[in-house]
């Protein structure tokens, strides 16, 4: 086997193998849509558990290529409350593979019925280190400069952060429109940082076909999201921050598996030129009930 692999790739194989294997296993993403960064107002169904992996691949200018992996568990606690746990890890070429931390999110739907604009409150705690490459959201003046630091040095920086998002979502003639306003605070005496994410998306077909199908248009959704930083409370501005525009595609199979992919294009000098995100998720129906039955 090793004789078939070019020499320059052999050093990658052991480090990347587990990440590639992890990426090939089923499931993920939160927010119920084809997006990777923007949250819609849709909640996870109560009792359902969605398991999955979100992966991102990028390379900062004059830096090393990295592969970041997020493992996600999303659970519908109530119709109005969804919880998520993420575990972060990344592998950087010519560097190392590291576990970079975790985050715990909760989303709360504020209104009982659907309206033109539906608000959802999002709160999160994250405990990550400076080697994190997830770019799960962009706040402040986050840019590709932060992504060039070697892992050994970057991981020494610990970040305990709390984040809140105001999620606004709408459904209109098959389109889903979402806007997120993000405020983040590093608990270690850093300023408040702000960011945004907006997205639109739509299934390729609004009506379902009468026969079961996998590759029919109703199972595909396309979208477009834009996200970036808005500076700090001391200097609130989009200038100098990184901003991205990313088309998205999702393919939802009838059995609960969803595949997602999104090429992201940096719009400013501080943005990564290109960021490829892809992920797979699997939804386990009535997971909470199944666990309850085990303990009766």
């Amino acid at each position: 086997m090793a004789g078939c692999i070019p020499q320059r790739l052999r050093s990658w194989t052991p480090r990347c193998a587990w990440l590639i294997l992890a990426a090939s296993l089923s499931s993920l993403r939160a927010g119920e849509g084809p997006y990777f960064v923007t949250y819609s107002h849709y909640m996870e169904e109560p009792g359902n558990l969605e398991v999955g992996f979100i992966n991102s691949l990028g390379r900062p200018d004059q830096g090393n290529r990295f592969f970041n992996n997020l493992a996600e568990l999303e659970y519908g606690v109530k119709t109005w409350w969804t919880s998520e746990l993420y575990l972060h890890g990344q592998s950087t070429r010519h560097d190392s593979t590291v576990f970079t931390g975790f985050r715990f999110e909760n989303r709360f739907r504020l209104l009982r019925t659907e309206h033109w604009i539906n608000p959802v409150l999002y709160v999160e705690y994250e405990n990550i280190n400076g080697a994190d490459r997830s770019l799960k959201e962009i706040v402040g003046s986050d840019g590709q400069d932060d992504l060039r630091t070697p892992n050994d040095e970057a991981r020494r920086e610990r970040k305990h952060e709390v984040e809140a998002k105001l999620i606004l979502g709408s459904s209109f003639k098959g389109w889903t429109i979402a806007e997120n306003f993000i405020a983040e605070k590093n608990l270690g005496h850093e300023p408040f940082e702000f960011g945004y994410a907006v997205a639109v998306g739509r299934p390729l077909a609004l009506a379902a076909r009468p026969d079961p199908c996998r590759f029919c248009r109703e199972n595909f959704s396309v979208g477009l999201e834009a996200y970036g930083g808005l500076g700090t409370h001391e200097h609130f501005t989009p200038r100098g921050a990184s901003h991205y525009l990313a088309p998205t595609v999702a393919w939802a199979l009838p059995g609960g598996t969803t595949f997602r992919v999104s090429p992201g294009f940096g719009l400013t000098g501080s943005s990564l030129p290109f960021l490829l995100r892809f992920g797979v998720s699997y939804e386990i129906s009535q997971f909470g009930q199944k666990i309850e039955r085990m303990f009766r």
Binding site: E32, Y42, M43, T79, R112, E114, L206, A207, A208, P210
Partner: protein
């Protein structure tokens, strides 16, 4: 008369509705709509409900009773589910 999914679906709209019901509703309401974790849909109250009443429930859910909103489904797909739920109404 049984309420088995797909049975007695007389046209493409009802067949599509039956398919969507299996995908989105059967885990709680049962494969045949007879109830499971969620109430039966074969009861008189549901079978005689108007299209508008069912549309309201599908769009908003019943938050207090654990039924999520299905506004994430396009309106056309919710109408297909409603067509299948109502297909046995007089």
């Amino acid at each position: 008369m049984t309420f088995a999914a797909g049975l007695y679906a007389q046209n493409d709209t009802e067949r599509a509705g039956a398919k969507l019901f299996q995908r989105h509703c059967a885990s709680c309401h049962g494969t045949a709509g007879g109830g499971k974790k969620a109430p039966s849909l074969t009861i008189e109250k549901v079978r005689t409900a108007s299209r508008d009443q069912l549309a309201e429930i599908l769009r908003n859910g019943v938050v207090g009773k654990g039924m999520p909103s299905f506004a994430r489904l396009p309106e056309q797909q919710r109408e297909q589910i409603i067509a299948w739920l109502r297909r046995s109404q007089p």
